[in-house]
């Protein structure tokens, strides 16, 4: 490959000036026009029949325009398993589920009217623990499960609370355990967490007299919102326009569709108004996706030399009241269930179970943080049991070029070893530091891997328009929620077109104008959208050459383009500026050559397959991204307070399109991981979410965030644009187990769950005594 001009450089973010000046428009900043305000009436029981829903007082309240209930929405909604009503119909399944929507001319009137709605419930026995939910006598949360529409790669069990059972059988675990010298079996638990982007979920809808619906939304995926709304409201797609703005953080909670549909019928009823719904922090935490809790049992057979011969992984996920999206997390964790390790014999059962807790759904890592918590803790158990170095055990079993994943997919472009060794070196692995009095120190490492969890037909596309002056517009459907997509994609366009990045304009999507993108999730955009953009650029470049060849009357093969001028390699004096090519498109005789230059590119993965329903074998991964985290901690043995002294993270990005933004992402993911490791868990009391604001749910702030050393490793991804693969979620995955491994190294006590709060550490120490 020739020298790259723009890819691989720390070019300034495309959204930089807007974001530091406060002029960047987030969606709420665009809710303009005559407004109506929507507010939800929420369920006060976790499981119950709606006996009475009296709207009369609310309807009479001054300023109120209308009040809707679940019955005003004809269809259900759901991405993979269509199990969710916009608002409860006859029955509520979680505490805080919307039962009515008040729409008024002021926010105050709407809020007041919500209080005037009278609801009576007949409480049903609730199920708050997936093990309870699995019992034959457990109350059913979705009686109609058998009749729900479902994408046929998921396996709900009608008449039970099982929303999906993913099965994986690789090799022969019985044989594997027979070959083992020791067998270790442990239980793990990962609690629910919340994404808490600083911007909450927001949406607005507008209906124009010609029957066009416009939706503004914080959604990560305007195309999916359009698709789901089209289906739910039985509308053709060209009559729905979904507009995105900068998104104030997503982390998965804004994937799929959530609150947009609520206001659609209202907009239809009141054409000309912009009907807005804005979740406050409490509503956001309690009413949108939470990370599903995972209860798991992990059994490994290991030879004395450290080689893992068999793995049995049973995962029980608390899917919450609706699992339209959660079923796929359960599947992804299932097919990835050997983590970053090549294990010949694997048997996995991953169950998505309905409970009356808040709705489970995607979070940065998409099941990998939860599933690899167990794997990475287990490796340390194995090492201790065998009296081996945990790093060594990881290196022995870690995936290499040609290894197979749990689903039997062969991985190619891998240097996991380098990821591990890099962080180990950084934190001085093997060297024990002297702690302060009353404190103990320890070091821990964890590895990680993740592929985008997407259906094999998840596609991407791009259009590049070359202006008359040779500048360009890149049009794509991916969203910008901080990950730096606009910048990375522009860099790819600039590189492939050979046009300087300053001459490239790029915007956030609007489904009426930007081409299709499945979803901005799964760390896939750089790869999928990047490939589309590269193809679009190549297409545009082809047209530039074609026009230039005709204009200059030389064969295309003799031409080259330096970003400004197309000229003949045989005689550089035969040349045309990009302006001349883009603008005139015609010979001096006036004879036309071609119309304006519009490059198009699209992408769908070719290396994925469906999985065998019985064995889970196949190729679910578009690419696999590996990495590792290393941590040194100091623990106050009296208070249980953990201080992180060193934090190192490495990710194999294949090729960092923008090393600066890549590093920032590494830091961000690592901090989010650290925050979950130390502070975060959602607490429920019989389905009632107890810590649903920032006073009660704490996340990392600047003063408890240590310095991070990050390393970008570049083992090129054969099919990625310029060798790149996605890295957005990955840095989070290894942090919690690395911290726990370090604390365990310091204290000699094991943790099978987190967060490692001072109290939890203290309890563990007390039990050890």
């Amino acid at each position: 490959m020739s020298e790259l001009k723009c890819v691989g450089k720390a070019v300034t973010r495309k959204d930089a000036i807007e974001k530091v000046t406060g002029s960047a428009e987030f969606i709420e900043d665009r809710f303009l026009g005559p407004l109506l305000y929507a507010k939800m009436k929420k369920s006060t029981v976790a499981h119950g029949k709606i006996k009475k829903l009296d709207l009369s007082k609310a309807l009479k309240h001054p300023g109120v325009k209308t009040v809707l209930t679940g019955k005003d929405y004809k269809n259900k909604i759901g991405l993979y398993l269509v199990d969710r009503d916009f608002m409860a119909v006859d029955k509520v399944r979680f505490w805080g589920e919307p039962v009515a929507l008040v729409v008024a001319s002021t926010e105050k009137a709407a809020a007041e009217a919500v209080e005037l709605i009278e609801v009576d419930y007949e409480e049903l026995p609730g199920v708050f623990d997936p093990f309870e939910a699995l019992k034959p006598e457990a109350p059913l949360i979705h009686e109609e499960l058998g009749s729900y529409e479902v994408v046929p790669i998921f396996y709900p069990k009608a008449g039970t609370n099982v929303a999906n059972h993913f099965k994986l059988r690789k090799g022969d675990t019985e044989k594997g355990f027979a070959e083992a010298d020791i067998v270790i079996e442990k239980e793990y638990y990962v609690p629910q967490m919340q994404h808490v982007p600083i911007e909450t979920h927001k949406a607005a809808a507008h209906w124009s007299p010609d029957g066009k619906l416009t939706v503004w939304s914080t959604a990560q995926s305007p195309n999916v919102v359009r698709q789901l709304l089209a289906k739910a409201f039985e509308m053709p797609m060209h009559k729905i326009r979904v507009i995105s703005s900068y998104i104030g953080g997503g982390f998965g909670c804004k994937a799929g569709a959530s609150l947009e549909g609520l206001v659609v019928p209202v907009a239809q009823k009141f054409p000309g108004y912009v009907v807005r719904i804005v979740f406050n922090r409490e509503e956001d935490m309690q009413g949108t996706f939470t990370r599903q809790a995972l209860y798991s049992t992990l059994k490994t057979g290991v030879r004395k030399d450290g080689r893992i011969t068999a793995l049995e992984y049973k995962m029980i996920w608390d899917g919450g009241a609706y699992t339209e999206y959660g079923v796929n997390i359960v599947r992804a964790a299932g097919y990835s269930s050997s983590g970053a390790y090549d294990i010949p014999n694997v048997k996995t059962d991953s169950y998505c179970v309905y409970t009356n807790n808040s709705i489970g759904g995607p979070v940065r890592g998409f099941g990998m943080c939860e599933m690899q918590w167990g794997i990475e803790r287990q490796i340390d158990y194995i090492a201790r049991e065998l009296n081996m170095d945990p790093l060594e055990v990881r290196l022995i079993n870690g995936m290499k070029k040609g290894s197979t994943t749990a689903s039997g997919q062969v991985v190619h472009d891998v240097d996991y070893e380098k990821c591990l060794k890099t962080v180990a070196d950084q934190i001085g692995w093997g060297k024990k530091e002297q702690p302060e009095k009353g404190k103990l120190r320890g070091k821990g490492i964890a590895g990680l891997v993740k592929c985008p969890a997407q259906p094999s037909n998840a596609a991407s596309s791009a259009i590049i328009r070359i202006n008359e002056d040779g500048t360009a517009h890149v049009m794509i459907g991916a969203t910008e929620m901080g990950q730096g997509m606009l910048t990375a994609i522009s860099q790819i366009a600039s590189e492939a077109l050979n046009i300087p990045i300053e001459k490239i304009d790029i915007k956030v999507p609007d489904t009426d104008f930007t081409p299709y993108e499945w979803q901005s999730v799964g760390s896939r955009i750089t790869y999928t959208c990047g490939t589309s953009v590269k193809r679009a650029a190549e297409d545009a470049l082809g047209q530039i050459y074609y026009i230039a060849a005709n204009l200059l009357e030389v064969p295309v093969e003799d031409l080259t383009f330096d970003g400004k001028i197309v000229y003949s390699t045989k005689d550089p004096e035969i040349k045309a500026t990009i302006r001349e090519v883009a603008d005139s498109c015609k010979k001096c005789t006036g004879e036309g050559i071609a119309g304006p230059i519009i490059g198009k590119g699209s992408f769908v993965p070719k290396n994925m397959t469906n999985l065998d329903p019985e064995t889970g074998q196949g190729n679910p991964g578009m690419f696999y991204c590996f990495g590792a985290t290393g941590v040194e901690v100091e623990v106050d043995i009296e208070t249980g307070v953990i201080k992180v002294l060193q934090l190192a993270t490495s990710i194999d990005a294949g090729k960092a399109i923008n090393p600066q933004l890549c590093t920032v992402q590494l830091h961000g993911g690592t901090i989010m991981g650290l925050s979950t490791a130390l502070y975060e868990d959602v607490r429920f009391d019989k389905g009632v979410m107890l810590n649903r604001n920032f006073t009660d749910y704490k996340i990392a702030s600047i003063d408890n965030t240590p310095h991070i050393e990050s390393f970008i490793i570049e083992t090129p991804e054969t099919n990625g644009p310029y060798g790149a693969r996605g890295i957005g979620e990955q840095p989070m995955i290894g942090v919690a187990p690395a911290v726990a491994n370090a604390v365990c190294d310091a204290l000699g006590v094991e943790f099978n769950t987190f967060p490692l709060t001072p109290e939890r550490v203290w309890r563990a120490l007390k039990e050890k005594k």
């Binding site: 105050k108 502070y679 810590n691 203290w762």
Partner: protein, 276 residues
């Protein structure tokens, strides 16, 4: 958006009248408790009485009586007031541990104690310092020791029509050292799981603890052991704190952890103030 009246007055007599004019009148200082409470429906005022024009509440002085902190002085101002920093650093630490820098730009010490949270971070230092609360009302002024000001969670000693004018830390100031330790989940902006203030006066000590009883409390058992019985084994002395407290379990910590951590922090406080 909430419905209530808002009146700001600089005239104390008018303020007293207004306080008695409705059932639910809330004085407004920094608003960091009040506005949060209104949003959550905990406070439903008919009238908000903004105190910020009352000059009498803006004093921050040191005189022969001691240091007097007016009800409108912000926590950041207290943290930077030289006589506090020099003479009673324990109070500066307590004030500094409240919320974030932005919160402390608004929050007042009067608001902190009027809100009467058992976890109020300025309270344990004030208890240690035997501070007094200067109360003013239409009936005149009165002075209440801070430990009689707290009556229970959210309950203070004010009668209807009264306001806190200021808080005074009396002379003589402690001759020894003072520390305020706050255990919290994150060590950052967070409410106290437990707050421990320890102040030595020569070879005597005062200890107060927060978030382990319905109000902040003096750890009199610990003080007695050290001051009256000459206990020099700080671990033994600290263990006695359990007699003085009745912690509960909540989102920030369990009863058992609170029992444990308060003991550890009292011992550390004794070590730091009385010497190891």
């Amino acid at each position: 958006m909430l419905s209530y009246e808002y009146i700001k007055t600089g005239d104390l007599q008018e303020a007293f009248k207004l306080l008695e004019s409705r059932e639910h009148v809330y004085p407004l200082a920094g608003g960091t408790d009040l506005i949060v409470g209104m949003r959550g429906g905990k406070f439903v005022p008919e009238l908000i009485l903004d105190l910020k024009d009352i000059e009498e509440f803006k004093v921050l002085t040191e005189d022969n009586k001691g240091i007097t902190i007016g009800a409108l002085v912000t926590l950041n101002e207290i943290c930077q007031f030289k006589p506090v920093v020099d003479n009673i650093p324990i109070l500066a630490e307590g004030c500094h541990s409240v919320g974030s820098y932005m919160i402390r730009n608004r929050a007042t010490i009067a608001g902190n104690i009027c809100n009467a949270s058992p976890a109020a971070d300025t309270s344990a230092p004030l208890y240690c310092l035997d501070a007094v609360v200067n109360i003013i009302g239409s009936g005149g002024s009165r002075t209440v020791p801070v430990d009689e000001f707290f009556n229970g969670p959210g309950q203070n000693a004010l009668n209807k029509g009264e306001l806190v004018q200021s808080v005074t830390v009396l002379k003589p100031y402690p001759e020894g050292k003072g520390v305020y330790f706050k255990a919290s989940r994150t060590g950052s902006v967070d409410l106290a799981t437990v707050g421990v203030a320890v102040q030595s006066w020569g070879d005597r000590v005062k200890v107060a603890v927060g978030a382990v009883a319905p109000t902040p409390v003096r750890a009199l058992s610990v003080e007695n052991a050290v001051n009256e019985y000459g206990e020099k084994d700080w671990s033994k002395a600290a263990a006695l704190v359990n007699n003085d407290i009745s912690p509960i379990t909540d989102l920030r910590g369990s009863r058992e952890y609170r029992y444990h951590i308060v003991e550890v922090l009292v011992r550390r406080g004794l070590e730091q103030t009385m010497g190891v």
